[in-house]
């Protein structure tokens, strides 16, 4: 029972209300101990807060979470609680020791299973069940024995009604939630800065340093080690976390298709060619990591990876095969194994287990059935009674019963008050050369389905008091100078997949901007026409409408055939709406925004926090556009265009600062320039090639210039005399004017210098040749040549633009082939079927 001691001010109502309620067994109300110092300090701080204050903190947190794009597996928002969880020093000491002991024990078991197997011969682990466990990986036996040490593991702990801690599950393959824990700590420190300082909370920074040092241990003798985080990709429900860890630790985020094995080395396909990888932090299951050697063929596998591990060329963490440690046939014998291996009892106990025979004698109300060979099976003793009976009658040895865990509860803030929810703590450990290190915090989480140990739903930061840890600074070993040098060498390795996404992101951003400007001008023109319906305005609206509908001036920039007639008027509103929100229309703004959002997710780890927030805004806007219909008022269309262009501008601004060329960002700029060149040529072909009466022609020129934000410059430069020719000179031929076609080509040419080349000096690469061709023709062409018309049509302009278009297409094709081509899919060789040789 939590006792409010005398030194405390009176508890606020929201807290005493919670304490007065009756609880099953609650961390605060029942398990806080006789002298709950750890909570006291917190409550002293919180005593002055009203329920409204706490609610406003909760709101602040949920905004921060939203901005950080922190989603859980089912893509719902986390509920991150404004009240941290306080662990007493006594509890923590016990947990810390228990975690160390268990990690040590699991390491020894891993060594034995993939080694001498004495534990199996002596019957401490049931061999029959283990051999059938899908996580028992026979490929592990041919790997070097130093590939068996665990690196970073986690375990889920809960508290029983009598107050002891028990272990719900171990995570020895890909322990999830570290990214979430770091994020929640960052938020907690921001929202609860004062409480945090007051409570002397133990820092997690030191552990994270050890994490990186642990990895460096494997590479300290290398000049330029490459460390990557391997993820399944954006389809993985935990992709956000992988991207976060990649950014946090500065390791390149890769998918299996980014890696290839050459000459026994695992290599990253990067813009610079193939680069050897030294360490892989895998967030992919070891059951399908090598599609050549393993029988479970998977697209996420890297053919040949295990051979690289076998010859010691690459280090995989956690080691291959570690998934077997979560096997039920080990977990339910762990108590015995501890006695056998460590000669001591487990400090953190296991739930009570009964074999099938023992369970016959008792009531199944409080039991659930687990399988010794299928880690996924769990059946409720009451609800699934019939199924259980059927299963155990066939193979009693393969099943056992477990007492249903009874989780303790903790207070969570919800709707202006504290409610209690069952909680589990996920703790993290690191196996280092000097023993096991435990992360001095935990991810405290609650799940409505309380028996499901996956992290989801409600989370809390866990605070551990640091009072008697004064020698913090001395724990940091001096960092050798060599290592610091290595850090700078790490920069700039990106996969060619990421490079390609950067190029496309540049194109989409530019496309979006341009489409919005076209739509704005179009709306402007047709609303004006409805007020002043004269024939010139009518012609301009009709031509714009046609150019949009036929996709001449929006993506995919269809090249009009030479006859530019056949214009239908009106339905302008409908055309405008389609360009805004019709998902059937390839170049619509909603589709372009979707492309932007998707490409950004793919390069998420390179984006700053602020850039990611803007992408969230864009995703919101996509949702809004999905729900609008043709009846949307023109006014509303215009204001949403303003909002989107605001986001795009903000995004452009937010990435300008983080554009070191070594990271491939120049490709984004290149993508922009290519897209803009396409826009200029397609606009001038679609709208300026028809010879018309002067006022009509100049009206169209004005529209084109406005789309290219060049109207004012044009007016200033050609004050006395404005023709189609002057417009074309400015838009296409002026090497000094930043929005001209020639200027874009010059920029693309400059950016090409960043692309690695294998050619010797003096020889120009194919993609540069294409740009050079177009550049030259811009330099040697006169405006009068382009303006000249035959039979009312400017065929020379059409041809000029067509050639430019061809050259840009060539440029993109070569780029794709030489620098981005990595997408070739793997095929399985038909296995030599024995019978094909049979006569």
């Amino acid at each position: 029972m939590y006792i409010n001691n005398n030194a405390m001010p009176e508890l606020p109502e929201w807290l005493s209300l919670y304490l007065d309620k009756s609880h099953g067994h609650d961390e605060l109300a029942n398990h806080s101990g006789l002298n709950p110092e750890h909570w006291d300090t917190l409550f002293k701080r919180l005593a002055s807060l009203t329920a409204d204050d706490v609610s406003s903190r909760a709101t602040e947190i949920s905004q921060l979470l939203q901005n950080g794009n922190i989603k859980n597996e089912s893509n719902k928002q986390w509920h991150f609680d404004p009240l941290p969880f306080m662990l007493s020093k006594a509890d923590w000491t016990l947990l810390e020791e228990g975690i160390k002991q268990r990690t040590l024990l699991l390491n020894k078991i891993q060594q034995d299973i993939y080694g001498d197997q004495t534990l199996l011969v002596d019957g401490h682990i049931p061999a029959k069940q283990l051999f059938q466990d899908p996580n028992y990986l026979r490929e592990g036996f041919s790997l070097p024995s130093n590939e068996l040490t665990l690196f970073f593991t986690a375990l889920d702990v809960y508290r029983t009604p009598t107050g002891e801690f028990k272990v719900l599950s171990d995570h020895c393959q890909c322990p999830l939630g570290l990214g979430l824990l770091i994020k929640s700590r960052i938020i907690a420190r921001r929202v609860m800065a004062e409480e945090f300082a007051e409570c002397n909370v133990q820092q997690i920074k030191e552990f994270l340093n050890l994490f990186q040092e642990g990895i460096n241990e494997y590479t300290h003798y290398m000049d330029d080690p490459r460390i990557v985080i391997l993820t399944q990709g954006i389809d993985d429900p935990n992709y956000n976390e992988h991207a976060f860890l990649s950014t946090y630790f500065g390791y390149t985020l890769v998918q299996s298709a980014d890696l290839t094995v050459r000459g026994g080395d695992v290599c990253l396909k990067s813009l610079q060619g193939l680069g050897k990888i030294n360490v892989i932090l895998r967030w992919v299951s070891d059951r399908c990591i090598d599609s050549l050697e393993q029988t479970e063929y998977s697209l996420h596998g890297i053919p040949g990876l295990l051979q690289s591990v076998r010859q010691g060329s690459v280090k995989v963490l956690n080691p291959f095969g570690s998934g077997v440690l979560s096997s039920p046939s080990i977990k339910c014998n762990l108590e015995k194994l501890s006695q056998q291996i460590l000669k001591q009892p487990l400090l953190l106990g296991e739930p009570n287990y009964l074999n099938v025979k023992e369970a016959q004698a008792v009531d199944w109300n409080n039991l659930e059935l687990l399988s010794a060979i299928d880690p996924a099976l769990k059946l409720d003793g009451v609800l699934d009674e019939q199924e259980i009976k059927l299963l155990i009658s066939k193979e009693p040895d393969n099943y056992f019963f477990q007492e249903k865990p009874s989780f303790s509860s903790a207070p969570f803030w919800h709707d202006g008050q504290l409610i209690s929810k069952p909680v589990v703590f996920r703790c993290y450990a690191l196996t280092t050369e000097n023993g096991v290190e435990v992360l001095p915090s935990a991810l405290c989480f609650s799940n409505e389905k309380s028996n499901n140990p996956r992290v989801s739903g409600w989370i809390k930061d866990t605070w551990i008091n640091t009072a008697d840890r004064v020698d913090l600074g001395e724990h940091n070993p001096p960092v050798p100078i060599r290592k610091r040098m290595d850090v700078t060498l790490l920069e700039g390795v990106i996969s060619s997949r990421t490079a390609e996404h950067l190029f496309w992101l540049g194109r989409y951003l530019e496309r979006c901007e341009n489409t919005i400007r076209i739509l704005r001008i179009f709306i402007d023109k047709y609303t004006e026409f409805s007020v002043y319906p004269d024939s010139i305005r009518k012609s301009i609206v009709a031509r714009l409408s046609n150019a949009i509908k036929s996709q001449y001036i929006v993506y995919p920039y269809v090249e009009p055939d030479l006859k530019l007639d056949g214009i239908d008027v009106n339905l302008s509103k409908e055309t405008a709406f389609q360009l805004l929100a019709d998902e059937q229309c390839a170049g619509s703004i909603i589709n372009t925004l979707k492309y932007i959002a998707n490409a950004s997710v793919q390069i998420q780890e390179l984006l700053s926090h602020d850039s990611r927030r803007i992408i969230d805004d864009i995703s919101e806007q996509i949702k809004i556009f999905k729900n609008v219909n043709i009846n949307i008022p023109t006014r509303a269309m215009q204001s949403s265009l303003d909002r989107v262009i605001g986001s795009i501008m903000a995004f452009n601004g937010s990435i300008t600062d983080c554009m070191p060329n070594s990271n491939g960002w120049f490709l984004l700029e290149m993508g922009r320039r290519v897209e803009r060149s396409l826009q200029i040529t397609s606009l001038s072909t679609a709208l300026l090639t028809k010879e018309l009466d002067e006022p009509e022609e100049l009206g169209l020129l004005e529209a084109v210039l406005s789309c290219q934000v060049s109207l004012v410059t044009h007016k200033r430069r050609y004050r006395m005399y404005q023709t189609i020719g002057t417009g074309l000179e400015l838009l296409l031929l002026d090497a000094e004017y930043p929005r001209s076609l020639l200027f874009q080509l010059e920029e693309i040419n400059k950016l090409c210098k960043h692309l690695p080349t294998k050619r010797r000096q003096g020889v120009i690469a194919a993609h540069e040749k294409a740009i050079l061709l177009s550049k030259t023709s811009c330099y040697v062409t006169e405006k009068d040549y382009l303006q000249k018309s035959e039979n009312g049509q400017r065929n020379q302009l059409i041809e000029f633009n067509h050639n430019t278009r061809m050259n840009l297409d060539t440029f993109c094709d070569v780029l794709l082939l030489q620098y981005f081509s990595h997408t070739q899919t793997a095929n399985k060789l038909n296995w030599t079927n024995i019978e094909q040789a049979q006569s």
Partner: protein, 292 residues
């Protein structure tokens, strides 16, 4: 008896392959029944990487990579193997009831028995069901000697199952083979293993070669010998005893062992992942030449 074996596998692709990663289990074993005196692998185009290692079941694996563009891959293994004909000569002296062996494998208390006990369990391609067990028990009556029980099972499969090369593929489930009683050597070996394991004995899959004899008066054709598959049963204090249900014989002087495993998926002679290549055409030729 000494043999020279030449086993070539050729893949012709419709399109260029830019990279392939492969693993071959084509090196004959040296064991109680045979000695592999030499073996070398010839690969075209020349691999850019080649290493060998020993797998979980003690088979030698050749891992290689070809990172140059090619439209044809040819892997030829040339080896010289001596068969020790006397290896099974004292088989007649084995006098142990199959039930005793079964009981021994329930609680394996030595490293050898532990490894062996794994071959009692069902595997990826060999699921076990009650129908198969019923079929098996006809051969395995209560006190029967393990060798004669296995011989009986082998003979029944030989007589009751129809050899039909077009009927099955590698992905045909065992239940179809059982229901139709049709298949090829690989299916018969898998089915026999399902029977062996269903009664609690340890059985393993053997891949290898068998020498074929030309019809009387005719010349032996080049490439006419064959890759083959059969099964082996564990007998305590003796070792693994081979049975060939396709020919109803105990392999003696015409069977050469390449690799062993739980089923075909453990011993695939050549597997690989290719990038590019389009469609592929496979051609396999085996020659077994008596050297003395």
């Amino acid at each position: 008896m000494k043999y020279k074996i030449k086993h070539s596998t050729t893949y012709n692709y419709s399109d260029f392959v830019s990279l392939c990663q492969n693993q071959a289990r084509l090196t004959p074993k040296t064991n109680r029944g045979q000695i592999c005196h030499s073996s070398r692998v010839e690969i075209e185009p020349t691999p850019t990487y080649l290493q060998t290692f020993t797998d979980y079941f003690n088979n030698q694996v050749t891992a290689f990579e070809i990172a140059i563009q090619h439209k044809k891959l040819k892997v030829t293994m040339i080896s010289e193997v001596e068969l020790l004909v006397g290896a099974n000569s004292n088989l007649e002296s084995v006098d142990i009831a199959w039930r005793k062996v079964r009981d021994l494998l329930v609680k394996p208390n030595t490293a050898e028995l532990l490894k062996t006990s794994e071959f009692v369990l069902p595997s990826q391609l060999i699921p076990i069901d009650i129908g198969i067990k019923e079929y098996a028990l006809i051969s395995f009556d209560a006190h029967k000697n393990i060798i004669s029980a296995c011989k009986d099972l082998m003979a029944r499969i030989f007589h009751e199952f129809h050899y039909d090369p077009g009927f099955t593929t590698i992905s045909t489930p065992l239940s179809t083979v059982f229901a139709q009683k049709r298949g090829v050597c690989q299916d018969f070996a898998h089915f026999a293993l399902a029977c062996i394991r269903s009664v609690g004995l340890a059985g393993r899959y053997v891949s290898g070669y068998i020498e074929t004899m030309p019809p009387e008066g005719e010349e032996k054709l080049e490439g006419a010998d064959a890759t083959h598959a059969w099964f082996a049963v564990f007998v305590p204090n003796f070792g693994w005893v081979d049975f060939d249900p396709t020919n109803n014989v105990l392999p003696r002087d015409q069977h050469i062992t390449l690799a062993v495993g739980r089923d075909f998926s453990d011993v695939t002679p050549l597997k690989g992942v290719v990038f590019g290549g389009g469609s592929q055409l496979l051609d396999v030729a085996v020659d077994m030449i008596r050297m003395e």
